[in-house]
């Protein structure tokens, strides 16, 4: 199973966020493996004083996605994964289906922060910047419509 994932753009997240320490000039954190995880300040800064967003995004920029099962949805053996920030939310949906061994017709609902279901074409990096908490993008998943 792991072998399959190493070929996908999603990579298994073996480092916990606390081990990712080196800040770069964009307020991103460099992990020992040199991949980048966006961090969001607990104290939101004003738009003017914020550091510029890295528009020429590093193709290696990653977001830590934390999956949380809701209701009777099966839990994952591992719930932290890193995903490339420029990927679409569809990639997260496809990955979770594969991880749960769910077929296309099996119902599966994904939500951000137990609040709303992003469209499949929303960009993971945007979701992280707007809705990330404590270094993670929290994705709740359910086999029935939970917050829809």
């Amino acid at each position: 199973m792991r072998g399959l994932h190493s070929r996908s753009i999603l990579t298994s997240k073996r480092d916990t966020p606390t081990r990712l320490t080196t800040l770069d000039r964009f307020g991103c954190v460099r992990s020992p493996s040199a991949s980048i995880v966006f961090t969001m300040s607990d104290n939101p800064t004003s738009p003017i004083s914020s550091p510029p967003t890295p528009r020429t995004a590093n193709p290696a920029a990653k977001v830590v996605v934390r999956f949380r099962a809701t209701g009777n949805a099966p839990i994952l053996k591992q719930n932290f994964y890193k995903i490339t920030a420029s990927q679409k939310f569809q990639t997260v949906m496809n990955f979770l289906r594969k991880e749960l061994n769910y077929k296309a017709q099996d119902p599966l609902f994904l939500y951000v922060n137990s609040a709303f279901a992003p469209a499949p074409d929303e960009i993971v990096g945007n979701l992280y910047k707007c809705f990330g908490t404590e270094g993670n993008l929290i994705i709740n998943y359910s086999t029935t419509a939970a917050w829809g």
Binding site: P44, T45, S46, P47, I48, S86, V112, C130
Partner: protein
């Protein structure tokens, strides 16, 4: 107290786009061999969505000889080779895909209707069991996302009665201003509290959508940010941030000519760049509560 400028909200709500719809030539050959098919001319509300007009458009083509017996969920539209995302408001689709015309594109907008070969790799599939369920869910998800951006939770939306929530979509799909705005006014004014962030997306043709936290006022609540402040931060290379007030007339002129190179389009209108972002959000958001701003260079 924040108040809605109803002259503005009525104007946006009633905004329509003249559209010419032609059938895809391959579909015409297979589904209407022999029939002479004319383009269909119609008006579409800019704030509406394509699935809400598909039934009436399909009827026109079927009456003119298109032997389509499939489901409306199979119907899709295209502009110059680009499949049209049905979950974007029609006005946004037009403004984005004609952005090279800087707000004065030739009208009517000429789009192509397809009855076969739904591009599942480019468009979200609509649930065929109920053609309206998918657009409804997608619309309500956007409203929730907007509420979360403003308040850090969706408590405000969830505190609305079931009927009020239903009225948002029903008001939109039946083009009933009062039904929609009686509820929407409470959301966009955020019950007269300043929202944490503004629901806003910025679009450039052929580039990923930009969405990031945008505060409407500075930390001390004594300065309202303008569209220029926001775009200057998001796209500093296109909208150089305002520097200190220019001391000479010459410097002022120079900056104006730089700024004129790029414009921000919303509802087909070039938005004055000094407009306060909070006012813009309350009065000029699409019904999904987002400001969908297209940048034309």
């Amino acid at each position: 107290m924040q108040r809605i400028d109803t002259a503005v909200t009525h104007g946006i709500w009633d905004g329509q786009l003249p559209v010419r719809i032609s059938i895809d030539p391959t579909d015409a050959k297979t589904l209407a061999s022999g029939a002479i098919l004319h383009s269909h001319y119609t008006f579409m509300h800019r704030c509406s969505y394509l699935p809400l007009v598909t039934e009436s458009v399909r009827e026109v083509f079927v009456k003119s000889g298109v032997a389509f017996t499939g489901h409306d969920a199979d119907i899709w539209y295209e502009y110059r080779g680009v499949p049209l995302k049905w979950h974007y408001p029609i006005g946004l689709l037009h403004d984005l895909l004609t952005s090279q015309y800087r707000g004065s594109s030739p009208l009517p907008w000429h789009i192509i209707i397809h009855f076969t070969n739904f591009p599942t790799d480019k468009l979200i599939r609509i649930n065929a069991a109920n053609i309206i369920d998918t657009p409804h869910d997608s619309f309500m998800s956007m409203i929730k996302e907007a509420d979360y951006i403003r308040n850090g939770s969706i408590k405000k939306l969830m505190s609305l009665s079931k009927q009020d929530q239903t009225n948002l979509w029903q008001g939109l799909s039946s083009h009933d201003y009062d039904k929609f705005w009686n509820v929407n006014a409470r959301l966009v004014t955020n019950d007269n509290t300043i929202p944490k962030y503004i629901p806003l997306r910025v679009y450039l043709l052929d580039q990923p959508v930009i969405q990031e936290p945008v505060a409407p006022v500075d930390d001390n609540l004594d300065c309202e940010y303008t569209l220029r402040d926001i775009l200057g931060r998001m796209l500093p290379e296109i909208f150089p941030p305002s520097l200190d007030a220019p001391t000479t007339e010459g410097a002022d002129n120079t900056r104006k000519s730089d700024a004129s190179e790029a414009v921000a389009i919303l509802h087909g209108i070039v938005i004055p760049i000094e407009t306060p972002i909070l006012w813009l959000s309350q009065n000029c958001s699409y019904p999904d509560n987002f400001l969908h701003i297209v940048i034309c260079r």
